[in-house]
């Protein structure tokens, strides 16, 4: 009993540390904002939720990681340089080499035209980190199966295996149907990419990768492509000439069904983006309360609430990964299902 109690205490302590380190970081951000103008909570929050060309950990000379800029324009071709060049000694944005940075978008100074920005931004860097973690973790898990062949799972393998089995048996198998094995690698990658991305986003100073619409849209497009490429005759028949519907209604249903093809991935992308970004905004808003009121008591109170919200965010990280995978499985399952028109409609 006391061991469990100790473990809970340890977890709470870790969460408190995470919450307060976020607080300190934001406090510093807010202070630096405060020195120039009045505290603007929505600006601070948006700045933390959006992508950036630099990775700001803490104030001071070594507190910022200047990420590489990669830009492409028809006129000048592909060019690459450090984002350090966009900032002067006072950490003010300055133009460099004919490019200027404005609200995280890069424009040509001469024409004001926006360039194709392939920079390693905060989110791209997190994307790399996420991919590397996934590769390291799952090759380790696969190695576990090779080394412990015929034995009980051990270490990280034992930790990850129940999650893999859960995704396979509870999410993919019942929703995709008997041909689930073909889609399992994609759906497992999807699940763990989102889960690890969500958890990475909860770390102090981390970027909001899975709360970025470009990322969630790409994932949704993946599901969209797989769903429609594997769609069978029954699936397309349902869309273009819905059986069991009176003839005059069929063109209307056609419009609805075609819209449905598009709305499915849009709902996937928006759901994940909203859930994760909203969570971050809630956390940041609570942090900002301290600076709006300028009171240490509010700070203590909001820290306690942040601890609690952080726990919920951990839950949300898992739930959103689960939901995205669940709906992807459902859409794929609907596209490949063998329809029997006699027993429904």
């Amino acid at each position: 009993m006391s061991a469990v109690y100790k473990r809970i205490k340890l977890i709470l302590l870790v969460i408190a540390l995470i919450a307060t380190s976020g607080l300190v970081q934001s406090a510093q951000a807010a202070e630096s904002a405060d020195s120039t103008k009045a505290f603007n909570a929505s600006e601070v929050i948006l700045h933390h939720v959006l992508d950036d060309h630099i990775w700001h950990f803490f104030d001071g000379h070594y507190g910022t990681w200047y990420l590489p800029i990669i830009v492409y324009t028809k006129e000048r071709g592909l060019e690459s340089f450090s984002s350090h060049h966009f900032y002067n000694e006072n950490h003010e944005v300055v133009p460099f080499n004919g490019y200027k940075l404005d609200h995280n978008h890069i424009y040509l100074e001469a024409t004001g035209e926006q360039v194709l920005d392939l920079s390693i931004t905060k989110n791209v860097a997190t994307l790399f980190i996420n991919a590397i973690i996934l590769l390291l973790v799952f090759t380790a898990v696969a190695r576990g199966y090779k080394n412990n062949a015929g034995k009980a799972p051990k270490g990280i393998q034992a930790f990850i295996e129940p999650i893999i089995v859960f995704v396979r048996d509870e999410v993919v198998k019942p929703n995709v149907g008997p041909k689930y094995e073909k889609f399992l690698p994609y759906l497992l990658t999807l699940f763990f990419f989102i889960l690890f991305g969500n958890l990475l986003g909860l770390l102090p100073g981390a970027s909001n990768l899975t709360g970025n619409i470009a990322v969630t849209a790409t994932l949704a497009i993946g599901t969209f492509i797989i769903t429609n490429l594997s769609g069978n005759a029954g699936y397309w028949g349902h869309i273009f000439w819905t059986p069991g519907v009176p003839l005059p209604l069929r063109p209307i249903i056609l419009l609805v069904e075609v819209a449905g093809i598009i709305t499915k991935p849009i709902s996937l992308a928006l759901r994940l983006f909203v859930a994760i970004t909203a969570g971050h905004i809630v956390l940041l808003s609570l942090i900002c309360l301290t600076f709006i009121f300028g009171s240490i008591y509010v700070g203590v109170g909001s820290s306690l609430i942040i601890m609690f919200i952080n726990l919920i965010e951990l839950l949300v990280a898992g739930i959103q990964a689960y939901v995205f995978t669940l709906f992807s499985s459902l859409y794929i399952g609907m596209a490949i299902a063998e329809h029997h028109h006699d027993d429904h409609h």
């Binding site: 392939l118 898990v141 199966y145 970025n212 619409i213």
Partner: protein
């Protein structure tokens, strides 16, 4: 609404990272992991099936054994009973035979004794007669050697006769 406009750069990076990641993880992780999981599950299912079969076999073997034991016990009891009966019968028979033999021997002996007795009696009579004769002869030979004695004897006899 900067939040809602996807940035093309991140979109491109996400595409060129995520989809190759699916392929990479398929070969490096999912394929071996899922194969091992499946293999383990089938081996567990098989092991459970075999165990259940073995259990059933043992149960039938046990009941067979019990049946055999019961049969053997019954057989033994039957054999013992039969043996006891046979022994009793043999004992009785032997007793009866022995008695019969003994009776016969006794009877024979008695007969033989009687015959012997008769023979012995007869012999004794004969012997006695012979002895008597010999005695008589000797007496006669001795007594009739002198005339006087012959005369005495005759006179004795005559006397006896006369007296009678």
């Amino acid at each position: 609404m900067e939040l809602l406009t996807p940035e093309s750069g991140l979109f491109i990076w996400q595409t060129i990272i995520f989809f190759p990641l699916v392929v990479l993880l398929y070969f490096l992780a999912w394929k071996p992991i899922l194969a091992s999981l499946k293999e383990r599950e089938t081996s567990i299912t098989e092991a459970l099936g075999t165990a259940e079969k073995a259990r059933l076999e043992i149960a039938t073997l046990k009941s067979d054994n019990e049946k055999l034991l019961k049969e053997a016990r019954e057989e033994r009891d039957k054999m013992l009973k039969e043996a006891r009966e046979a022994a009793n019968r043999m004992q009785d028979e032997a007793k009866a035979e022995a008695k019969k033999a003994a009776d016969k021997i006794i009877e024979d002996a008695r007969l033989a004794i009687n015959i012997e007795k008769q023979a012995a009696l007869k012999e004794v009579k004969t012997q006695v007669a012979l002895f008597s004769l010999e005695v008589a002869e000797k007496l006669m030979k001795k007594n009739l050697a002198g005339d006087k004695e012959q005369k005495d004897l005759v006179e004795g006899y005559i006397k006896e006769l006369k007296l009678n």
